[in-house]
Amino acid sequence: MAWHIFRKDWRLMWPLAVGTAVLQAWILILTTHSTPLPLPEATSMFASIVTLVLAIAMTLLIVLSIQQESIPSISQDWLTRPVERGDLLLGKLLTIALLIHGPIFAVNILQGLMEGFSLGPVLLAALHSNFEIALCYSLPVMVIAATTRGVVEAIVFGLIVLVITLCAGVARPTASGTGLVWIWRSFAHAELLLLTIVALGWQYLKRSRDGTRQAQSLFLVGVLLSAWTPLLPWGPAFAIQRGLAATPGASRPIAIAVERGNAEPARWILGDATQVPPNKGFERVIVPLRFSGVPGDVIVHVDRAKIRLVSGDGTLLFSGQVPTFDLTAHGARTVQQAFDLSSAFYAQHRGQSLRLELNYFGSLMRGKTVPTPVPLNDVLRVPEFGWCATRGDTTVELSCRQIGALPFCISLAVGQMPEKFVCELNYEPVPLRFSVDPIDHVKATLPRPGAGDTGVTIRVYEPVDYFSRQVAIADFRLQDWAIPAGSGKP
């Protein structure tokens, strides 16, 4: 009967379904790249507008097809017909799979093949893309449609869901900005998927007429949990990440101790943070540290640093996160760990003997140079990196497109110029890197090349191991480590 229900939906919805497929084909024509270089701005903007129209049309298609058999309705004829709810649910899933995901899948495959990628990775990327779209879009829209009586009611409920998502997202206590954020996102996706499935099952399979509010509540709980994901603290998440290390034990020799001499200011290589002076009403304390046992060819990236200040009688006086930093490969192994305390706190405890605990959670990132540089003003297929192209004389614009996921952290260099890092930290295992767009891309602009420079050298940085360490200082007096206001030095 599921197929029978789908065929009826097709009879009703085919003009809209064909319309969305045509829009997708149009976007495919607009956005398929003949080279990996970015599209002209006007084309890109026009494609964005068509994409927005497509999103609206697809949402309408899902809502209308689901509401052909509206469950909360009190007047639709089908409610008094012997329709098995399981068949109805399957029929609707079939409608969404074939009318929404079918064309998306086909377009993904076509685009991948047209851009010169081979069928296997294209299929895999298309599956990944469709899974992500189903999880974050089709299934939630399906729940919204199934628990409302009409398009207007669906829009209102959709807006409520959106507001809740945004509000919960603002208060998100997770690890955004770190490479571990995928763990929370995976939990969020799992929570959303689970509660979406439960809400759909509840709404479709329960024949009682009073389940709609419960189904809506279940879905909202899923949305809330997925937006907030408070279920996993940092420690267990980091333990999961350590369990996935490519070279377990590589970080074992690393030790961190207080540096008695001068230390280098903190640097950020993989991120774009900068050290700013303390805010008014705060005092800055700096602890010089030395890292030892670090392999010479790796970047040490501190993902998170936590501080605790404990009084002599064991009372916890202060705890929180402190700024992180990176240590360059082959570079200095000292760093100034800075943290700011409120002036009131500082004044109260400045001469007191405290215990300082600094807890570090870090990653070792090893770089690997892509054997062939990308020639200037040319296109090159880089193995496992996709199509890369460069253009420009005064500056070099580099752009790469790869089916599936590109490495999340690369550095680019022209000739002997310093590396330019392009990193969006994400330690997620590649098979789990789902994205709506099956083709990943990266672009960067580099300084003007020298006279003899012929290409851009790409280095790929991947995490090899993760570590956690603690530095503790007994008899720690704030006044001995604080920097005088305006001096910048301890």
């Binding site: 029978h4 009826k8 007047s75 004829d77 009682s208 007429r209």
Partner: protein
């Protein structure tokens, strides 16, 4: 009612916000009969039928159809129920023929010959979209989609409004007898249409069942009594509770006796009204029954 009940509603309450549409409703439809649910607009008839069809859930109380709680009506039971309502929404973009084709596989007992017979009587245009049908044609389509599987229970909620007289006659006299062992549960204001087939009557007022009994009993019990007195008639200051709508004109006093009995009638009337010249009694049509009960309920009397 102790017979085998195909529909039973027990102490059902249904609230819409602050409004109580049903207030402790009790109702029982005997199998094989034709139950006419009557009442003024807003009495709760359609809400009752929606509860019976599991279109809305009762706030309290239970309703069963064929012994199954309406909140859990499975497809096997729904396959034995035909439902036609004025407010029924069918997929407007489908054509008449497509919709019948769509519904057919859901019913194991669908009789294609009966379908053909009904379609020829209803004369529905197979190629027209449902949204383009008139109100009456939509009801005809509802009937066409509710009968070919020979339902055991046919639930009709205001099925006649908009139907032309020929189709009404076809339905009541031509189609329903074709269905065999059928129980009819019908809410309608078109009382003249259902009087000929109704076996039981339930009268609802303000969400409650005020009266429910076989039509035969009701006809015997409710009589219009016309008493011609020797002298000028006047409505007595104290009248029996069973008398409804007493009115006097000249020497004649007229009322509806809700507990009519011929036994000692003349003597009882003489004691109450004085010398009686003539007594005439008349059975009430369903329309008159409805009007009498509705007026009485409105005025706070008991039927």
């Amino acid at each position: 009612m102790t017979a085998d009940m195909i529909v039973r509603v027990q102490e059902v309450w249904r609230q819409f916000g602050r409004h109580e549409a049903l207030r402790g409703l009790n109702l029982a439809v005997p199998a094989g009969g034709a139950y006419a649910l009557i009442g003024a607009n807003g009495a709760g008839k359609s809400t009752t039928i929606k509860v019976v069809m599991n279109l809305i859930a009762p706030s309290r109380g239970t309703a069963t159809v064929m012994g199954v709680d309406t909140r859990e009506l499975p497809p096997e039971v729904l396959a034995q129920i035909g439902y036609v309502a004025e407010s029924q929404v069918m997929p407007g973009r489908l054509r008449v023929g497509e919709y019948i084709d769509y519904l057919r596989p859901f019913y194991p007992s669908w009789d294609r010959e009966l379908e053909a017979s009904i379609r020829s009587r209803m004369q529905l245009p197979a190629d027209r979209r449902i949204a383009q049908l008139s109100h009456g044609m939509r009801l005809s389509l509802g009937l066409t989609c509710a009968l070919p599987y020979r339902p055991k229970l046919l639930v009709l909620d205001e099925p006649f409004s908009g139907l032309d007289p020929l189709v009404r006659e076809e339905l009541m006299e031509g189609l329903l007898p074709l269905l065999g062992d059928l129980t009819l549960f019908i809410a309608s204001q078109e009382l003249a249409e259902i009087e000929s087939i109704a076996t039981h009557v339930g009268f609802m007022h303000a969400g409650r069942m005020l009266l429910e009994e076989p039509l035969e009993h009701l006809s015997e019990r409710l009589r219009e009594v016309r008493v011609t007195l020797e002298e000028r008639a006047a409505v007595p200051a104290r009248i029996p509770r069973e008398w409804l709508q007493p009115r006097a004109f000249g020497n004649v006093l007229t009322f509806v006796d809700t507990n009519f009995s011929e036994e000692n009638l003349a003597e009882r009337l003489r004691l109450l009204l004085g010398p009686v010249r003539q007594i005439d009694t008349e059975t009430l049509s369903l329309t008159e029954v409805f009007k009498t009960l509705a007026r009485s309920a409105r005025d706070g009397g008991a039927p």
